[in-house]
């Protein structure tokens, strides 16, 4: 930010402060992983130790896996997040294109509604959607987890802003070449918008893999639990005081996203900030 390097003292001070912060940011993760390696007896000694004296990693993780269908939870999480993202692209990308490049009646009104929708969190609409799903008889299904998020006004807004920057000539060229409007969306706009779609995808996957509020409301059967529900359920029913096992469960739930994040940090940070405007 300063446009020039810091002096040696200031540089060292910078590292001292940032390292202290880093320790605070990281310690829950380190604590979680190390505890997941420790047997219950060592945890109950109430002493601050770093590495376990007796490694109980395998039994802790195996306990999680045998006591709850953890694989099923992860699979549910993958199915739900992937379906949500696929549907979001399918529904919102064409709408974003129409809003950006077509003239049709009701376009301004639709865009105004999209802007309004940006302000509304899912929490505000949860009760009516719950009632609707109750009457439709689709509570406790994948559909209940997926459908409310098939529409993403934020996705529409973001992709529309991106499409506004695509030159009209490209679309006109495609029309002259005989590509239909629907063809333009998938053959021309989607490939052109890949960076924006990727950023949105990361945002969407992170948000819905981690979501707890809506699955908690919509799902009652264990078979359909997503990872956050699974780990909360595990704490409540099976491993509330078996801390090593509980930490192993938490580690399993956190791992997929954290691993993906560490592999593609820049994209993740871009994706989440880019979309940070949502609030």
């Amino acid at each position: 930010m300063t446009g020039r390097g810091l002096g040696p003292t200031a540089g060292a001070l910078r590292h001292v402060v940032l390292m202290a912060g880093a320790v605070i940011m990281l310690s829950p993760f380190v604590w979680m992983v190390l505890s997941s390696f420790k047997p219950q007896s060592e945890i109950l000694t109430a002493e601050l130790t770093f590495l376990p004296q007796r490694w109980a990693a395998i039994e802790n993780y195996a306990t999680v896996w045998t006591r709850v269908p953890m694989g099923r939870f992860l699979l549910n999480g993958a199915i739900v997040t992937a379906s949500i993202f696929a549907l979001q692209v399918l529904v919102n990308l064409p709408c974003a294109y129409a809003l950006a490049k077509l003239r049709f009646r009701g376009r301004r009104a639709l865009f105004a509604v999209v802007l309004l929708g940006l302000l509304i969190p899912i929490h505000a609409t949860a009760i009516p959607i719950y009632i609707l799903f109750h009457h439709a008889g689709i509570l406790n299904t994948y559909a209940a987890l997926i459908l409310p998020f098939a529409i993403s006004v934020f996705g529409i807004f973001m992709l529309r802003q991106f499409f506004m920057t695509v030159p009209d000539d490209l679309i006109d060229a495609a029309r002259i070449d005989g590509v239909s409007e629907i063809g333009i969306v998938w053959r021309v706009m989607l490939p052109t918008a890949m960076p924006a779609v990727t950023a949105f995808g990361i945002f969407s996957v992170v948000a819905h893999w981690n979501d707890y509020f809506w699955p908690l409301i919509a799902i009652g059967t264990r078979e359909l639990y997503t990872p956050p529900l699974g780990v909360a359920f595990f704490r409540l029913n099976d491993g509330g005081t078996e801390y090593g096992v509980l930490m192993a469960a938490a580690t399993i739930v956190i791992m997929p996203l954290v691993a993906a994040f560490l592999l593609a940090q820049r994209r993740f940070i871009e994706g989440v900030t880019f979309t940070g405007l949502k609030g």
Binding site: L170, A173, I176, V188
Partner: protein
Amino acid sequence: MVIRGLVKNFGDTRVLNGVDLDIGAGEFITVLGPSGCGKTTLMRIIAGLERQDAGSVEIDGRPVDALRPNERDIAMVFQSYALYPHLTVFDNIALPLRMRRLSWRQRLPGMRRIDRSAQAIERGIAAKVREVAGLLQIEPLLARKPAQLSGGQKQRVAVGRAMVREPRVFLMDEPLSNLDAELRVHMRAEIAQLHRRIGVTFIYVTHDQAEAMTMSDRVVVMMGGRPLQFAPPGDVYADPEDLQVARFVGSPRINTLPGTVHAGGSIEVGGLAVPFDTGLAPGAQVTVSLRPADTKIALQTPDTAGADRAGRELAATIVHRENLGSDLFLHCRVEGIDATLVAREDPGKVGLLPVGAEIRIGLPVEHLLAFDASGRRVRPGGRMTSLAQPAAA
């Protein structure tokens, strides 16, 4: 192609104000005009990308107003080239053919690997793409993406994509304006050759008169949403129908002088009575103009200052000189009237004509063009020409 009574409004602004054109098959037509004259809108209406508010467009005797762009059998080269950034050059050129020849099911991802008949069609497309690429000498580029191409290469690919479908009409919207000057001259020649070779109708929109003059069979000069003249390039320059055309075409700009019609078939310009029978009522205001190339000057020396010549020449002073090497342009302030004339002279005379020199300018009647108060051309003999008649094509 026949265009009749085309009108287009954008909100309250009328961008096309009654355009009529008859274009012969195989002609190279340039639409020339300053930016905002409606030439691009005209092209977009012909392409079907924009809709007119009145009038019609016919291609080969068939009205195309109800047809979508891809049904009109036209191709278009855009100013920005509008290449698909995610497709290779090959796929860019192949796309219009795939859209026509393959059914939507055959176009689905992966289908071309399974469907036998699609494979056969695809082979035909590949052959056609290679043929076009060979013609444009872009074969080595077929595997590249547009981002890896230079401006000139992109331009060729855009032409290739338009050519490959063998359209009846080729539309080009300022296709050279994004190229550097040298390449522009080169591509001008190439496009003209291309036209001779494939022989279909070309409609070429530009604001660059050099392009219009060098490539086309006929030029449409458009101003303020209407065509002012539709004629071969030479006529547009030498025989403009309208003062705006005269001013727009030719560089440096044509000289203009205010004049008044006198009784007895003459125009009074800066105190001179020029014999020019306009047929207009005495007292009418006209504009007299003269190309710089036809503006001849002479140094005012004691022997040329004779009374016999003074009646036919304007007295002026050189105020500025531009020596371009091949030409010498002299800006001369005319005494008595507030006007500056530009004269083209032989650069060899540069030593003789310093700034500040007093000179005389003749007004050769055979080169004078006169325009009435509304800007219409008036010819000697009192004939007043009407607006651009479509020439027989």
